[in-house]
Amino acid sequence: MNQAKVPVWVNIALIPLLNITLAFVISGLVIYAIGQNPIEAAGYMIYGAFGYSEGVGYTLYYATNFIFTGLAVCVAFKAGLFNIGGEGQAYIGGLGVGLVCLALDHSMPFIVIAPLAIIGAAVFGAAWAYVPAYLQARRGSHIVITTIMFNFIASSLMVYLMVNWLKGTQNMSLNSRTFEQNAWMPYLHTLLTPLGIDIGDSPVNLSFFWALLCCFGVWLLIWHTRWGYQLRTLGTNPTAAKYAGIDTAKVTIWVMLVSGALAGFVGLNEIMGVNHSLLLNFAAGYGFTGIAVALMGRNHPVGIFLAAILFGALYQGGAEVSFDMPQITPDIVVVVQGLVILFSGALEHMFKDRIEGFFIRRAAAAQEK
């Protein structure tokens, strides 16, 4: 009895594409319903995201955050854990980056600060994931609940720290002092313009390359190390994991530490790369959108990269649309983003069975010939 296979491209390309298309069609209807021209809006959106060099730079800047949070969700998901706490872990990861920069920017060169900031982001993000992980592994508290709650705690903690400890003395707003330039993550345009590549005056910075490196690292980790073998076993068959003598509690904790560290890297991009100071609410929903990115990217680093670019384009293109077509408010842009998340994430399986069935029947018919 031969099992017919669905071609790989159906699962990784066709189905996501179909879901996005449907999301855009419905978005078009919404825009049409408020009396605007959806084609025109789509034009602005695509132009805004990819049409000119600065737009491309912004798209990549947003995508950097989504890669980090998407990978964070992916690693946990592969071990059967649903980490909804990317938001809080990113926030606290940023705190780690900020503290390193504030402590060292007067005394150390970039080459020293950068690796320490990476470690700071990882350690703080991981620490924030550790408590829910411990509670899940040793006490059986469900990780979905605890990670959500930890987002709120992170938010309150940051307000407390900013107001009482970290607020700069020269400014009225709730920012820390601005870091010295040697604690800034270099913008890509400062590196690429001399090479003749133009990405405008956009905020995309070196963190983008760190994100790409993380994609590769996660791929290696999950599919090519024994540690990844254990986490995949745990994620697909926990009983088999016990049978194999895998310490499931230990793996659960380690997976969440890695997941939290990845989410924490958002701080590199936001704090060290763009804001150059500690401030409130810089995580701005990137952690939550990471869930959609991971789902859409089929929990594979390559897919996550592509999905992150798409969501980066939505953020950047959406901002452009509401600038050029004032009747389309930022709220409508959020609706469009929401529809994409809905169709690519929540309704992921809407077409899956039927399309796979179609290809299975086709393969079966071909086999009989």
């Binding site: 009895m1 099992q3 190390t225 049978y243 194999a244 079966a364």
Partner: protein, 518 residues
């Protein structure tokens, strides 16, 4: 045999069903005379369950139709099947355990928003059914407090209460002792005498021969033969099922037991609800012998395997193995037990022995994934894993010999070979084997049995847990019988027979030869 004047109780015409590329049923024709017991026999995966699901309305057939009493019926849901007078007793009972018998029977047929009227009607109707078919039962007993045989009776009553004239039983004896099974067959015969038609699905040849009027054999989705039961025999049916001649016995020499390699002393185990699943079990396992553990499924055998292999920690007692004493205060986990020379072929390969979503070469190292053989400094050595998997697939005749194929896509027998190969190739001192041939084709059973015997002859100590008495009797040198978590009997294989083991399994054996159960 064809008689056009009296319609059949149920007749299938050219039923076909395809799942993807798998042709589960192909042009199935079946005629079951009214008031007969009709057996349907076939290996796992032959399409029996699919066919029954079509009759009971779980799946729709791609082509063909079903006639009941000579009239075409359109069965799309199980409600349609019930309306057509078809009732089903599932292999795993569909009962609400903490409801009474009466409540279970009424479930889905309450007869209105308020229960009162329905209850008195159901009580009267059950009483009538019970006396008509001699299916006595206390209707106010809570189901979970009933023995398994009586729970099955509740299932039968449920079907009859809904007006079933055709009763389908799917592997009904899997959870019964031989004596309980005999009792079931007596009930089926009395149902038959009252005009009920019975369809009996099983893979046990013995039951077919003992209780049916006619038998149909399925193989690879097709109906390959129809026989009158009185005109066939075990060998012919086995050959029809497999498509080639099979040997039903195991050749083995006298065992030469060596020294004790593992001894368990007073093992007890509580589950998470605090129920004692294992009660004061002691045993000794010697090199070069096969110790069989018989018992009806769910009497502590799984817990025994889990405790011995280190998957769960015992609550009390000790295991002496490889020079170490393992106890609740000094436990070893499954990985440590493996390192000490214990291999374990688990009872349920899907839930435990394999990761069905993994490619075969990944499943083939489960439990040994930390071995330096498979690991470089940071990354796993995929080439070593693939080469070794290919070699083993060739040596153990795993088909198809493709290490990249997803584990789920191998047949049951080939999956089991992957597990057994993995455990045996480590050259362990002790091998625990649970249900070695569950869900395995008859053709592959022979091969697996031979492997187990040759391991014994190579001086391994083997603990064999199986609910198939035939298997226990064919392979074991010594037999323990478990009941309700405790060892209730031990005997040499040569003293064992089905009657003695059956009585022990029901814990109603006494040395008095007249000691039949009350």
């Amino acid at each position: 045999m064809i008689n056009t004047t009296i319609p059949y109780a149920i007749e299938l015409r050219d039923i076909s069903k395809r799942f993807g590329t798998v042709q589960a049923n192909k042009d199935i024709c079946l005629q079951v005379p009214k008031g007969s017991i009709h057996g349907i026999i076939g290996e796992n995966g032959a399409g029996k369950s699919t066919l029954m699901s079509i009759i009971y309305g779980f799946y729709a057939a791609d082509t063909g139709h079903i006639e009941v009493d000579g009239e075409i019926v359109d069965i799309r849901t199980s409600q349609d099947a019930i309306n057509a007078g078809i009732g089903m007793v599932h292999q795993h009972f569909m009962l609400v355990e903490n409801f009474t018998v009466l409540e279970n029977v009424m479930l889905g047929a309450e007869g209105g928003a308020l229960l009162r009227k329905g209850v008195s009607k159901a009580r009267a109707e059950l009483k009538r059914l019970a006396s008509q078919y001699s299916l006595e039962i206390d209707v106010d007993a809570v189901v979970e407090e009933l023995p398994v045989g009586l729970q099955q009776r509740v299932e039968i009553l449920k079907a009859l209460y809904r007006g079933a004239r055709i009763l389908i039983l799917d592997e009904p004896t899997g959870v019964l002792t031989p004596q309980e099974a005999d009792h079931l067959f007596r009930i089926l015969h009395s149902l038959k005498e009252k005009g009920v038609t019975v369809l009996l699905i099983t893979h046990k040849l013995r039951e077919i021969l003992a209780s049916t009027d006619n038998v149909s054999v399925m193989r690879q989705g097709e109906m390959v033969a129809h026989r009158e039961t009185s005109k066939t025999n075990k060998e012919e049916l086995a050959e029809l099922m497999v498509g080639k001649k099979v040997r039903l016995t195991v050749n083995k020499e006298e065992a030469k037991p060596g020294k004790v390699v593992l001894s368990a002393k007073h093992l007890s185990q509580l589950d998470s609800q605090g129920v004692k699943r294992l009660k004061d079990v002691s045993l000794e396992l010697r090199a070069g012998e096969i110790l069989g553990v018989a018992g009806v499924s769910g009497n502590g055998q799984s817990e025994l395997l889990n405790v011995l292999s280190g998957i769960t920690v015992m609550s009390e007692g000790e295991i002496h193995f490889a020079g170490e004493v393992i106890s609740a205060s000094a436990p070893k986990n499954a990985a440590q037990m493996r390192d000490m020379g214990m291999a374990h072929v688990p009872e349920d390969r899907h839930k435990m022995g394999l990761v069905t979503g993994f490619e075969a070469y990944e499943s083939a190292i489960l439990g040994y994934h930390n071995s330096p053989v498979y690991n470089g400094k940071f990354l796993m050595n995929r080439k070593v894993m693939l080469d070794e998997c290919s070699e083993r697939m060739a040596a153990w005749d795993v088909r198809p010999p493709n290490p990249y194929l997803k584990t789920a896509n191998f047949s049951g027998g080939n999956q089991q070979k992957i597990v057994i190969a993995r455990e045996v190739e480590q050259n362990p001192d002790v091998l625990l084997i649970g249900q070695p041939t569950r869900g395995v084709d008859i053709g592959a059973i022979e091969n697996i049995h031979e492997q187990i015997v040759s391991l014994r002859d190579a001086g391994k100590a083997i603990l064999l847990v199986s609910v198939e008495l035939d298997e226990i009797m064919a392979l074991s040198d010594r037999i323990l019988v478990m009941f309700d978590g405790a060892v209730v009997g031990e005997l040499e294989a040569k003293d064992a027979n089905e009657r003695v083991l059956g009585l022990m399994m029901a814990n109603s054996y006494s040395d008095d030869p007249q000691g039949e159960p009350a």
